[in-house]
Symmetry: C2
Subunit: 283 residues, 2 copies
């Protein structure tokens, strides 16, 4: 595995692969890798000739009161995991290389980013769409891979790729969960043992709703209430729970197969998100 830490090195390496007719797959990450990230690498490995992974803790997608400084980081471990996963190139860089003095350009997806996580994380999606545009331009992949755990991010990025005619496919990959149901997240590292147990409320609530839907319940408010009940029982602080259309994230009053139930809540000081597409198998 090459480790590239220079933007022009990265572009040159991927340009050479493209010129040789090789298909490049790309997995952007913020590091602190877990099995969810590795599933994206596996999907890229299966679909593409060469796989590039970036590890860049992007400051512009964190608000001033968020956890940028606390975000877990272990590059040596990440590198070993990626090497083992058969990645061809790891790209790391610095905030000052990505956002040099005079940087002034932003990519914004309107509407889709106002709701759900966007309502409580002002500027977050603008940071995501801008850095992903930059990374896609640097890497030039034919496919980029994103986890469905960040469902809104995936929908926003697919909208951006279509709107800007970016020559790439943004592929969504299934959520990876712990055996007890907790969706994998780098932020799970913040949870103490008691919080780790309480954090199950998100996935348990989604499973309850999934089972209710399988039993015939299609009322959006009823399905949302099933999640809310678990959160209340675990004293988790609800940010939102909404049944939404998977294409445009519009709120749905009535569930249909594929409708997404999305939840965000704080357990202690840790903000967690999860979602499930109703009628899809629970993993």
């Amino acid at each position: 595995m090459k480790h590239l830490d220079d933007l022009s090195q990265l572009s040159a390496a991927t340009a050479a692969w493209r010129a040789a007719g090789l298909h490049v797959g790309f997995v952007p990450t913020m590091g602190a890798l877990h099995a969810g990230h590795l599933s994206l690498v596996g999907a890229a490995r299966a679909a593409c000739d060469r796989v590039v992974v970036s590890v860049f803790l992007n400051p512009t997608q964190f608000g001033p009161n968020e956890d940028l400084d606390a975000y877990p980081s272990d590059l040596a471990r990440d590198r070993a995991l990626l090497e083992e996963a058969g990645v061809d190139a790891l790209f790391t860089t610095s905030p000052s290389a990505m956002y040099p003095d005079g940087f002034a350009t932003w990519v914004e997806v309107e509407g889709l980013t106002d709701r759900l996580c966007g309502a409580s994380r002002e500027g977050h999606f603008r940071g995501v769409t801008t850095v992903v545009t930059k990374l896609l331009n640097l890497v030039g992949p034919c496919r980029a891979f994103f986890g469905e755990k960040d469902r809104q991010q995936l929908v926003v990025l697919q909208r951006m790729v279509a709107d800007l005619n970016l020559p790439v496919e943004a592929v969504g990959c299934p959520i990876v969960r712990e055996p007890d149901g907790l969706a994998l997240s780098s932020r799970n590292a913040y949870l103490d043992p008691a919080e780790r147990t309480r954090a199950l409320a998100l996935s348990q609530g989604l499973r309850d709703a999934q089972q209710a839907f399988a039993g015939g319940e299609t009322s959006g408010p009823a399905l949302e209430a099933a999640v809310r009940a678990r959160l209340e029982a675990a004293a988790a602080e609800l940010d939102y729970v909404e049944l939404v259309d998977p294409g445009n994230l519009a709120r749905l009053a009535v569930a249909v197969p594929g409708a997404v139930l999305a939840v965000a809540a704080k357990v202690g000081s840790t903000r967690l998100i999860d979602n499930h597409a109703l009628g899809q198998p629970w993993r």
Copy 2:
């Protein structure tokens, strides 16, 4: 010359050229072509193996009270000129193909777009940066060519290309003028004969300032006043005249070689712009 009017046709044609190792040059236009546009084609022809020109009257860069509906258009003439100039592919498209239902993504360059033309044309540069990003992604050129007459546009686009790591060089090309000095513009077609004469005030003012600079005058206000005097004599309505840094468009109090004197004014109902880099040859 191929005439492509489908986005995926365009991408496929240029991808095939790139795959064959050919360098693609690109000239985006809004049609109503004149010798200024053709000089961009000539620069592209000289620097690249294949030349793509787009003719797209982009609605998102016009304000609600601007001249979108009146903008001159003659595709048959444009096509003949481009054919004669040795262009390989002409791309035309419709607003609904470029901005389909649900379109929501915008590229914005902050700061640089607030001043000069940006101050009086709200949203203009957002429309420009968004459509140019889209076109660059569709065409995938190694170089794109822009006229220095739209100096602020050039600076904004070069900032955008650097900030978003777009794999292209945005090349600026010299202003082309009528024999009497008027900078070529598709909007010159709006001028009646009397206005056409009064419109010379912009270039005459810039020449006066250029001569004053050559004679030792370096005061920004004095150089700006030279332009203002010509505009007043022609009863042209000043929008701005500013001596600015060519890199970041910051206003300069003292002229140095290469400093840009930029002017915008209305002659009758026609808004015209012009500029000159002091110390550079007058063309």
